[in-house]
Amino acid sequence: MSNQRQASSASQVPHLSPAELSYLYTSLSLPKNPIRPDGRSPTQFRPLSAETNILPGTNGSARIGFADGTQAIVGVKASVEKTILAADTLDSRSLAQHGDALNREGEEGSAAVSGQGEWVQMSIEIPGYRDDDALPVFLGEMMRESLVGSVAGGSEEVKEMAGGLKGRLVINKRWHWRLYIDVLLLSQPLAYPLPLLSLTTHLALLSTKLPKLKSTGEEDPFFDDDWAVAEYLYPRSNKQSSPSDAPTYPVRPPVTLLVIAVGENVIFDPNREEIAVADAVLAISITRSSDSENMKLLSIRSIDPPSRLTQPGIPNSENVNMLGGPPASSNQSGGQEEVGGVWRPRRGGVQRSVITRMIKTVLQKGGVGEEVIQGLEGVKVE
């Protein structure tokens, strides 16, 4: 039982020897210029290939693959559902009044009914994990949280997105869209799969279309059955100069990046070995806010660094096999002091300054967050 939980917790511990861990840690924590095992620079991502709209049966879909063969497919499906408005208001007469009250309260007017977070459903399928294991649940919550939480701030130009994704799903007071986001990882993850899944979901949502609404106001919704006039879930700006240009999005879905800190260094898109020696692992969700060009922080979650569970190395001075004699008094606390080249499992937490630096590297102008969003903008979404 606890073995299974171990494997399913957010941290996956690869079996690495203390000597390897020590080598990795010291390489990655070299001041200013860490040496990653695959030679990347600290902010460099593994190259990936991406395509969208690959599944005709979905409202939107995307696939992203790494060179090592890890692939993720995301399909987005939408269905119309009746809104259970304020389940605690029983009287149907007062239901209308209640709606009016909300109308008066919310100055925006048209977006009278705000969306509900539970209209977005997300499920993650990872081979080798049950869908109620901790890892898929944790990943799903993490991605859903930033998705429904991203409220576009003060963007008058896109009134559809006034309430964020949730607001977009409202059809009228009595009907709404329910969005099913199904994430499929095609192979057992070779690294913590969060960035892959998040990027794929991002692209799938960008390609998602909803049928054009023909009904107006509070009547029961009916839709244009011409798929060609369907509208994008994330509206595109009309300011496009020529059709060949990549479309611009006033509002973009969030992207969750995995960032680790090793020593003084902040490292992006870590592979499994790199996570194994990290001092701190953070999942940072960002998006580009519509009103400014700055990156906007949506959520941060710390992830349990697996380095806490690793096996410590034994310094030569304490190694009984190197002394040749009887074992030295096995002093449990003797391993407190750091010996160069000997692995010690990380203990304790992170300094606030380290967290601040990690966030800053993501958010700063021209930083990694901006580059990732730009990179994703370059993907042609049909």
Partner: protein
């Protein structure tokens, strides 16, 4: 740029089309070709021409029905007929009158005398279980290791009790296959001074001789794996034979460029590779081999054989180790066999590619300088071309 996103590449998009020479009609009669003629056509040819299928056979395909042949690995016979039928997809190998099918991609099958790199996965009372990328875990008995102290002595219960002080879970060992059991599992030994615990470097798992990349690896096995010794290099991108092959030297020392110092490369036959800084004492020990008595040697080696403490490794050495690891990854991902020759060629090529790029780009741009060792994409192709030359 932090992130590179590429358009998907369609690999080998041309549909299989046996004998259509009219390229315009491909799309129209493709289905007919696939279902109607291609397979029976192939069978016909096999039986008609030489009696033995050549090239690639698939499971269930009759290799030959000539009774003079004996059946080998990868085939089976039915009592009712004399035909030999393939059980794996691969190429037909004839050894005198023995017919066997060597699969294109399979697990590592241990053979006596193989030098392997393994990872301890379980500690039992008198032995270790070692992952060597084979179908079954190999075992390393306590009696098959050199005990410290320099003297050859009997194993005591004290040794059994402190078995974890020799090797513990996760430790990497270099060992030799001492015997292979009936069920295909191997027994290892480390009773030579060059065997023991590995440290000072990085581990990577690629496909080995008849081996596939292991689950814990960051590099998955390339396209083909089982390599026939002496086979020529495959074309890059083609379905060649990648992975480590059995060769004369599995362990050698490279003098790293850019002040990298001496780097030791261990290519385990099973596809597990360890690249490390050459241990300080190792040079002296090897040079002294001739004139030191055996007992003396034991003493020298035992000082580091079970150590899990890394030496001081300079940043330059680390860089070159990372570069070598990348070179091997490039080779494997493109289906090129990995041995001393190809690794050294790729390593030289990577230096050369770097120099070329260095000329083109502004040297002062520090951002560019970083991440130079990352060898995927265009650099990989350049390196491959050089290796192929």
């Amino acid at each position: 740029m932090a992130i590179t996103i590429l358009a998907p590449v369609v690999e080998n998009a041309a549909p299989y089309n046996a004998d259509s020479d009219d390229s315009l009609s491909v799309a129209s009669d493709e289905d007919v070709e696939m279902t109607g003629t291609s397979r029976p056509h192939k069978r016909q040819r096999l039986q008609g021409e030489s009696n033995i299928a050549t090239g690639i056979v698939t499971p269930g395909e009759v290799v030959t029905d000539d009774p003079q042949w004996m059946r080998g690995h990868g085939t089976y016979t039915t009592p009712l007929s004399t035909s030999i039928i393939a059980t794996v997809a691969g190429t037909v190998l004839k050894t005198n009158k023995l017919l066997s099918v060597t699969p294109m991609r399979a697990r590592y099958i241990p053979e006596i005398g193989d030098l392997v790199v393994g990872r301890i996965v379980e500690v039992q009372s008198r032995r270790w279980k070692v992952d060597v990328a084979a179908p079954l875990l190999a075992q390393l008995p306590l009696s098959a290791i050199n005990l410290p102290g320099g003297i050859l002595r009997r194993r005591t219960t004290a040794d059994e009790l402190q078995i974890r002080t020799f090797f513990s879970e996760g430790d990497l060992v270099i060992a030799e296959v001492q015997s292979v059991h009936q069920d295909g599992s191997a027994s290892l030994h480390t009773r030579t001074l060059k065997y023991g615990k590995l440290r000072n470097g990085v581990f990577l798992a690629v496909s080995g001789t008849g081996g596939s990349g292991a689950s814990s690896s960051s590099v998955k096995g390339g396209r083909g794996t089982k390599s026939v010794a002496g086979s020529s290099l495959a074309a890059p991108g083609g379905s060649g034979t990648g992975g480590v092959v059995r060769s004369r030297r599995q362990v050698w020392t490279v003098s790293g460029a850019n002040g990298g110092g001496d780097i030791q490369i261990i290519l385990g036959v099973n596809g597990y590779i360890h690249i490390s800084k050459l241990a300080d004492g190792a040079e002296a020990a090897s040079s002294a081999t001739e004139n030191v008595s055996i007992t003396r040697l034991e003493e020298m080696a035992s000082s580091s054989i079970y150590s899990s403490q890394n030496e001081d490794i300079s940043a330059k050495t680390r860089r070159e180790i990372a570069r070598l690891a990348q070179c091997i990854r490039v080779l494997v991902q493109n289906g090129v066999r990995v041995d001393e020759e190809t690794v050294m060629k790729a390593y030289d090529a990577s230096q050369e590619v770097d120099l070329e790029i260095g000329d083109e780009e502004d040297e002062d741009d520090e951002w560019r300088q970083e991440g130079r060792e990352y060898l995927e994409g265009a650099k990989a192709q350049q390196i491959l071309q050089y290796v192929m030359r």
